[in-house]
Symmetry: C2
Subunit: 210 residues, 2 copies
Amino acid sequence: MRYHKAPDETIRRLPSYLRGLALLLDQGYKSISSQGLADFIGINPWQIRKDFSYFGGFGTRGVGYDIEKLVKQIKKILRLDVVHKAALVGVGNLGLAVLAYPGFGVYGFEVAAAFDVSPQKVGRKVHNVAIEGVSELGTLRKRGIDIAIIAVPREAAQQTVDELVKAGVRGILNFSPCYITVPKKLKVITIDIAMDFARLPYYMPRQAGA
Amino acid sequence: MRYHKAPDETIRRLPSYLRGLALLLDQGYKSISSQGLADFIGINPWQIRKDFSYFGGFGTRGVGYDIEKLVKQIKKILRLDVVHKAALVGVGNLGLAVLAYPGFGVYGFEVAAAFDVSPQKVGRKVHNVAIEGVSELGTLRKRGIDIAIIAVPREAAQQTVDELVKAGVRGILNFSPCYITVPKKLKVITIDIAMDFARLPYYMPRQAGA
């Protein structure tokens, strides 16, 4: 089931709701109002209600949200109700940071394979994942891995994408700050940390006396 | 000058316009229509015109945008018309990846200092930046560094933020996947790569036959 009416910005916020709700569950909460959730996450309560309204709304007036049920509903919308196995391509500093990243579990992600071109790296095991040569990328399909994280130098990004497409990958998280061309049957989300940096000064308070 | 009316989503898109325009300049273009810019970046032309309308609109009907002028105007809005010096705190794998990151130049950012708690790292030079002990964080103010990038383990994030506040930092890019508490005089943008991951399956095309 796809919900075509929800704007991208709503889809962008849903994971942050999930993260907040997971923390609330950890702290022993069972239900919460949209106001309470909004305060906890740090956004407007009307924004939450509006986002949920695209999916028919989830709360009961005056009672609030059943947290566990809400988590399940959001996971279903985002298709996170199944475990996704991902492959990392490029085990440099950024790739190593991805392998060590503690935040994937909440969303049901597992980095199940890692690939690199360097013969010095292939065969080593990092954070319980054995590094394989890129010549093994063709095995992804039969291993049920359909998501890839690209952390290769930008010169190598396009070729890596082309190989991943052949290997049946349908979703890519791209850390190479470059434009890549992909067929329509594939979704790519590019993370450019410089772009997040670039909107920081806009929001920074002025210096005293400036 | 602050433009309070522009929504956050517009501010989120402005850096991607800047990046696209910089590439167009590199390729020798002098002016471009909103349709041409939209095609190049891969978004809707009405979105570009709407985003620019918050700042009075930049183009001339039928002529399009003067690219160099537009770059200057967007940089001014985002306060990227001055060079920003940033400090990196935490020189682990992620920190090393930040130091090696090639994408900051477009936005006028310079990672001018790096700090770590490890005595083995302090004193070493990485990508032309000498690693200093965290006890030196107090020197940031007099060095004109008012932005910090936090790439420390999440247990250490809050304490790091507290020290950066004391050191006069006004903006933080936080890579630790955790909630941190900050005074109002500081802007923090948290980058949680798991959250970008979490919206990928929603957009992935279905498998053949699924």
